[in-house]
């Protein structure tokens, strides 16, 4: 049990520089990152390389093909990272990999790479929770102290706050994740998956004008998104729907794909901001940190900013380098727990598709 000095960070300053390699591949992004923790307490990103598996418009990424992509690219991505960082694998203290949550096949293929490297170079393995990786990297980059975290990505939608060595989940989606909702709608209206479907929705939404009524489903601090997806899909069957804009000048009462993107973003983001605000009011925090792929969306950041301003608070967000899945965040979270003495033995270096944020013992925070 912790003693009376509860507020002092249990993480001691490193006596020498520590370097960690992080490997991430829980979805369609394959990332390798190298991070360095120096004795003066500073943290340096030495390399952050990513390769994304992009599918043709109208198609999502399937587990088997994604795993194949990761296997094909793993070595060149890792070599790239090592070259950029100008370090050799011999200099590294530990190899961190994503233990979960994520898609099974891509996770296992990256874990296999991590295990192989660990055996080849006699380096300890550290299994990392993907969500905790996002949170730790966001905290590192933005220097937010104890924020309420909104974690929004293709596979996760959670409102998280830290309490007693655990990232507690205050609210989450009851069905699909927000990124999944946006991506699937992008597929319906045939938007490109390059660089990402969510980015293209954001660009289309900027041209939308008409706000169409959609369900608004917040339940306490939770949200439900699947009904909204069905509802917005139905609009593409509406007789007012014009996939290519108005047919002639008199064609005014119409629904364009841009309007749909606009309506979808406005509704879904308003729900997310609302549950975040509830969590902030509940725990009395004034800081918000947005992490995860959807966190790059500027409209979401803007809405969150307005909300925080009304409450006298601050918003912290990162750009696509750290928002979207990457290897560096796995290295950061992994190195933190490695410095606390945590290692994953080879026998236990498995992956799991279900690994909740609150299952991790956050030993490095007071």
């Amino acid at each position: 049990m912790p003693g009376k000095m509860r507020k002092r960070s249990p993480l001691k300053a490193p006596e020498r520089p520590y370097i960690a390699l992080g490997l991430e591949g829980s979805a369609n992004k394959l990332g390798a990152g190298i991070i360095k923790h120096s004795p003066d307490g500073s943290t340096e990103v030495l390399a952050n390389v990513r390769h994304t598996y992009i599918t043709p418009p109208g198609e999502g990424f399937l587990p088997r093909d994604t795993a194949q992509h990761h296997r094909t690219w793993a070595l060149s991505v890792i070599n790239d990272a090592l070259k950029k960082a100008n370090v050799s694998l011999h200099d590294i203290d530990c190899i961190c990999y994503t233990k979960g949550p994520g898609m099974g096949a891509p996770l296992t293929s990256v874990a296999l790479v991590a295990r192989t490297l660990s055996l080849l170079y006699h380096k300890p393995l550290v299994g990392v929770n993907h969500c905790v990786g996002h949170i730790e990297m966001g905290r590192q980059i933005t220097a937010a102290k104890n924020p309420v975290v909104l974690y929004v990505s293709g596979g996760n939608t959670q409102v998280i706050a830290y309490s007693q060595q655990c990232y507690r989940i205050f609210g989450e989606t009851l069905d699909i994740a927000v990124g999944n909702c946006l991506d699937r709608f992008a597929r319906v209206i045939n938007l490109s998956n390059d660089p990402s479907p969510g980015y293209n929705i954001e660009q289309e939404a900027k041209k939308g004008k008409r706000l169409l009524p959609l369900p608004y489903a917040t339940k306490g601090m939770d949200v439900s998104l699947s009904g909204i997806l069905t509802s917005i899909e139905t609009y593409t069957q509406d007789k007012r729907y014009r996939p290519d804009g108005p047919i002639n000048d008199t064609d005014s009462d119409i629904i364009t794909p841009q309007d749909l993107c606009f309506s979808l973003q406005e509704t879904v983001f308003a729900m997310l901001v609302e549950i975040t605000e509830r969590a902030m009011a509940h725990i009395g925090s004034k800081e918000v940190l947005i992490v995860g792929g959807v966190g790059c969306n500027e409209r979401l950041q803007e809405m969150m900013g307005i909300m925080a301003k009304e409450r006298d608070g601050l918003v912290f967000a990162t750009d696509e380098r750290f928002c979207i899945d990457n290897g560096i965040m796995i290295a950061q979270a992994g190195l933190l727990s490695y410095r606390m003495g945590f290692q994953t033995s080879l026998a236990k270096s498995t992956c799991t598709q279900r690994f909740r944020t609150d299952q991790v013992h956050v030993s490095w925070r007071a």
Partner: protein, 277 residues
């Protein structure tokens, strides 16, 4: 929210009222529907005029699209007023409705003169949890000499009586197919006896998340939410909550069996399923 430039009667009402607290969803004010007249009135003549009301103001959220915000505010104010109205008709102790303004997002209800059950059970005021956690060991030592200042003084009631009142009121509400959605001890007020021969009354408040449902599932989840709230705010609350359920059982009669069975299921299920994806 600038009181100086307000023009509608509702806005003027708010500008005269005093802010009590500010939540995520709304600001709470204490005000009077009938302002004191400008000219002097003989005293003793305006007793009934000065009844205080609680004003729940769902102000415009700047981050939300105006159209979306207006329709949400409207439906939420209407929904809350409707739930309170149904409770009143079913004989549940809830604050009376004094005024509804859907355009402005204002709901004014009867001001309850009393304390929250959370406070009366020694759970502290809302928002104090963080402090308690830091001085975890200090709180425990305080509990022993808690009897010095009994918060229940003047209510003429024991803790167990309060629990029974809670159980009875919730059962009455569920009988009318209303689900509160946010049952906590902070959302229950105890009104002291109005006369020496009367007893204290328990009043359920904050129907912001209420909805109607006939499902056993929803009623069981409602009770489970309360059980969790008890466990997190009041240490050693098991005997207290058992007493709530006993009173609920007495009031619910034959409906209890199904709800009780479902409550056991819900407890096993826990609040969150394992994450998918």
């Amino acid at each position: 929210m600038n009181p100086e430039s307000s023009s509608t009667p509702t806005q003027r009402l708010i500008s005269r009222a005093t802010l009590v607290s500010q939540g995520a969803e709304a600001a709470i004010y204490k005000g009077e529907l009938h302002p004191p007249p400008i000219y002097p009135v003989p005293s003793g003549n305006r007793d009934h005029d000065s009844e205080p009301v609680l004003i729940k103001y769902r102000f415009h959220k700047q981050y939300r699209h105006p159209t979306l915000d207006a329709s949400l505010t409207k439906s939420r104010v209407a929904g809350e007023a409707r739930a309170i109205g149904r409770c009143l008709r079913a004989g549940v102790n809830v604050p009376g409705i004094r005024m509804v303004d859907l355009q402005e997002g204002v709901l004014a209800i009867e001001w309850i003169n009393g304390k929250s059950v959370r406070f009366l059970l020694g759970g502290g005021a809302e928002g104090e949890e963080e402090v308690d956690e830091v001085h975890g060991d200090v709180v425990e030592s305080e509990e022993t000499d808690e009897a010095e200042e009994d918060p229940l003084k003047g209510y003429n009631i024991t803790q167990d009586d309060i629990m029974q009142l809670i159980g009875t009121e919730i059962a009455k509400m569920h009988e009318a197919d209303i689900i509160h959605g946010d049952l906590t001890t902070s959302n229950m007020m105890l009104r002291p006896p109005s006369a020496p021969d009367k007893s204290s009354e328990l009043v359920l408040i904050d129907f912001g998340l209420a909805y109607t449902s006939t499902l056993v599932e929803d009623k069981a989840v409602d009770l489970y939410v309360l059980e969790r709230a008890f466990a997190s705010t009041h240490p050693a609350s098991e005997p207290l909550f058992a007493s709530v359920l006993k009173a609920y059982e007495r009031q619910a009669g034959k409906d209890w069996k199904a709800i009780s069975r479902r409550l056991d299921d819900v407890r096993l299920r826990g609040r969150k399923r394992s994450m998918v994806g």
